[in-house]
């Protein structure tokens, strides 16, 4: 389990990193925390002639808050975001999802941007980004652009980032008013990829009617997915427990999770509906207290 030979590049600016990606094209890959890439390289399941290690790129690190968004630099460590009070206050859903990523040793190395760009459909951060409608900032020698979360995740381990583009940061919207959030997942063991998981966010008006709702799932498709049917069923209502159960059932019914080694699609549907009910219930409960 030794990686095939590669050249290691250690740029110190985004411009240098982008230049390397432009130069080497599909022979290059960005290396962030290495928690997914290095095992794949060691198993020789993938190989690149050039690794562009962005660890030293200072402008990729850091968390900043504006009125309506939380910006997380791509190379910010997951552990840093997990323990950041600003993150917890601005985007509670992100803070609640982070502890579910692997184990603390992994989060001490793994980066927020790395997980998003790796785009494993069973991982937590892509689903949070999709659920909240995050905006991705990409840079290349051609310039910078923004990509909406709805357009970002294009398939298992694939994103809208072009070969020569590097993910610079991600802006998570900050929801205002009476809001609540829920995150729930089921994994074989503590820290494993989820068999199924749900992220939910709701905002209520003064009469407890849902004015805004977002439900995303992990582990049930080729990409993170929104449970649109559940959202539609709840928007504008002040649901009781039975209505939440019904919405979760409807949300799950529209999805067709696949079988794999660890769970059948039928199992994922059963557990997914339950998790959706749990996460939504928790989110609504929290918003009502707010």
């Amino acid at each position: 389990m030794k990686a095939a030979p590669f050249d290691h590049h250690a740029p110190e600016t985004v411009a240098e990193a982008a230049a390397l990606l432009a130069e080497f094209g599909d022979e290059a890959k960005v290396l962030a925390g290495g928690q997914s890439l290095l095992p794949l390289l060691s198993l020789r399941l993938t190989r690149f002639e050039h690794l562009v290690d962005v660890h030293r790129v200072a402008e990729l690190h850091g968390i900043t808050r504006t009125d309506d968004a939380l910006r997380v630099g791509a190379a910010t460590l997951q552990a840093e975001a997990e323990h950041d009070a600003v993150v917890a206050a601005a985007v509670p859903l992100l803070a609640r999802a982070l502890p579910h990523i692997g184990h603390f040793q992994i989060r001490n190395r793994g980066t927020v941007g790395g997980s998003l760009a790796h785009a494993d459909p069973a991982s937590e951060l892509p689903t949070v980004a999709l659920t909240l409608g995050a905006t991705f900032e990409a840079a290349s020698v051609r310039g910078t652009r923004e990509i909406a979360a709805d357009d970002f995740f294009t398939g298992t381990w694939s994103t809208a980032l072009a070969e020569d583009e590097i993910l610079v940061g991600t802006r998570f919207p900050v929801w205002a008013g009476r809001t609540g959030y829920g995150f729930a997942e089921v994994a074989r063991r503590h820290g494993d990829f989820a068999l199924a998981g749900v992220a939910a966010a709701v905002a209520l008006d003064a009469d407890d009617r849902i004015t805004r709702v977002a439900v995303g799932m992990l582990g049930v498709g080729a990409t993170p997915v929104r449970a649109g049917a559940a959202e539609a069923a709840l928007l504008g209502t002040a649901p009781d427990a039975a209505a939440v159960t019904e919405a979760a059932r409807a949300g799950m019914a529209a999805l067709e999770p696949a079988d794999d080694l660890h769970a059948t699609g039928a199992y994922r549907r059963r557990v997914g509906a339950h998790l959706m009910e749990t996460a939504l219930g928790a989110a609504i409960e929290e918003a009502r207290r707010g």
């Binding site: 503590h190 080694l261 059948t264 557990v271």
Partner: protein, 776 residues
Amino acid sequence: MSAPAAGRYVGQAVQRKEDPRLLTGHGRYVDDIVVPQMLHAAFVRSDLPSARITAIDVSAALELEGVSAVFTGADLNPGAGTMQPSMMAENPAAVVAPLTPLAGDDVRFVGDPVAIVIAESRALAEDAAELVVVDYEPRDAVASMEAALADGAPLVHPELGGNVASDLALPEDPELEAIFASAAHVVTERIVQHRHTPTPMETRGVVASFDPVTDQLEVWLSTQGPHEARRTFARVSGLPERHVHVRMGDVGGGFGQKFFTPREEQTVVLAAKRLGAAVKWIEDRRENLLAANHARSDVATVSLALDAEGHVLAAKLDHLEEAGAWPVGGTGGVGPFVAMLFPGPYRIPRIWWRSRVVWTNTAGRGAYRGPWMFESVAREQMLDVAARATGIDPLELRRRNVVGDDEQPFTMATGMTFSATTSATTLEHAARVIGYDDFRAEQARARAEGRLLGLGIGLYIEPTSTPAATLGVEAATVRVESGGGVTVFLGTAAHGQSIETTMAQVVAEHLGVAYEDVRVVQGDTDRTPFGGGTGGSRTAVIAGNATREAALKVREMVVGVAAHLLEAAPEDLEVHDGVVAVRGTPVRNVSLAAVAAAVHNAGTGLPPDVPRLLEATGRYQTSSPTWSNACHICTVEVDRITGQVEILRYVVSEDCGRMLNPMVVEGQVHGGVVQGIGGVLYEHFVYDDAGNPLTTTFLDYLVPTAAESPRIEIDHVVTDGPNPEGVKGMGEGGAIGSVPAVVNAVADALAQVGATVTEQPLTPVRVVAALEAAGA
């Protein structure tokens, strides 16, 4: 039954001598060995489960700079000696697969080594391995016992003429059939235990260095048995045993996988000999999961006949054991032991059994902590099936059938005789600690709320220190050094058992020195007496009693010299913590250092009748197993939606005789229990129907972690073992009792809603399927 008193050192939870280096990351493992100009090996392995090799092209690999050699079967197989362990190699009747260092004309499982690449670094060796081109003509494979036993199934080993390695059975028994025909209750179930792999934290590894001038082979090995390894390397290489020196350092676990000396290690030795060089091979995790020996994979159809009061009248066991393609240790066939031990601690007056061992195109089976433990899985699950069928509480059913502590020696219907076990006592203790009746009440309350709690019992007896071949003997040498310190030389091979600690305790106790002044040396064939290796729960009993004898002999020597120096009678002297004193007159004393100085200094002039040496070898030999026993009880909650199992409480009541060190005993129990839990709930090595392995990384082969480990409550029942030190073996037991306890607990929870599970692993999907099948 009164518990024997602990000694000054024996029986105390003294701190481990191993801990300072192991807990600070300073252990020294085989990968830490560096030999000047050492080369590195990587294997080219088959990615097909069965295929004829039509061509191997190594030219591109050889052209890579830094590659020293690429060997195939054509290079290393001719002239290689047998690769079987001693107990098979020396048994002409043994049925063994035709194992060669590298694949010959064909490959027989995914992972079969086809070539070995030797290069300046492991990374380079892997680069070159990718360049070796092997042309295969694929054949149909048999990836399961069912497929292997089908009519017209492809043969795993065409040379052997069939896929059944062995088929042993008792003759038809009309009387037993009559018992079944007239019994008040008959239960029959198919019990399945799936394939595991031992997954030691340190994978296998070897450094082999051959000097063609002196014909000397130096080997550093991650092993459980350096002396067995030496014999194996001598046989396969044709070198005389005296020219083979095997050493081991710290070993990060074995669990049976390193008990014999596997194929790859032998192949690396042959490559080193061929090159006249030093070669290192450190198995990576993928190789370990793919090709190091696997374990378990048993199926049995079991029937019990019971009378109206729940007494078992007779049993039938039809058992299949999967050997894989190249089992480590011969056929891997523990099947007959499964059958012979099936009655366990219960009165089962009559039994019929059949046991077949089946070849498949999968990784070979090998030893794993309690290799025959399927007997406990099958029996304890069946007792719970019988309890449900008869309406008798499972604890009560066991009470009615268990052999009493005072009814031993007891001979099972299979002919095995056990003695000095306390199953009935541990059953009661475990039930008391878990609060059996209270739990049943809690279970009923939870059920009323719609929650599913369950309780499972695993009661077993274990033949430890079984004296097969060289395993019934061990020797130990104790030497007082010139300054008065003590060195102990053992043929053992610790890989997590705290042998440096426990054997130092034995020496400190019986020689009369301080624990701190004793050092244990093991794992070196040039320095230590021959030993059968560490495994089979044999070290405490066999090495422990040998060490005791050696310490007592040296004590006698020390006393003899001290008697001369003190001008006292030997029988008036006592030895404690390195001081020999006249009993009742402690001021008349001499230190062990002074005794050693007298012996080592020729000028002192000891008279001829005084011992001239402070060194002795003890030997212990046994011709029958030492039985230990335990009862495991756990309680679980099954999540009705997700099918996940949470262990609520875990209790072990065990009797391993006098404990050399209770902390070490408990550590062994903890490790075994967690392995058993892992086996039931998480671990499963999966092949698809075509024979492709699907779980070759830790992403998919799920071992239990600390997060999945419950707190384990241990109750010790201490009775004297049938040997001078009073000990019984116990290293494997935790992994035996835990499996049926957990399975039965889940089954107990599910039974409340009419759901049944008899097949492991109990994955969330399987539990949910059982609930759905029951409409629950």
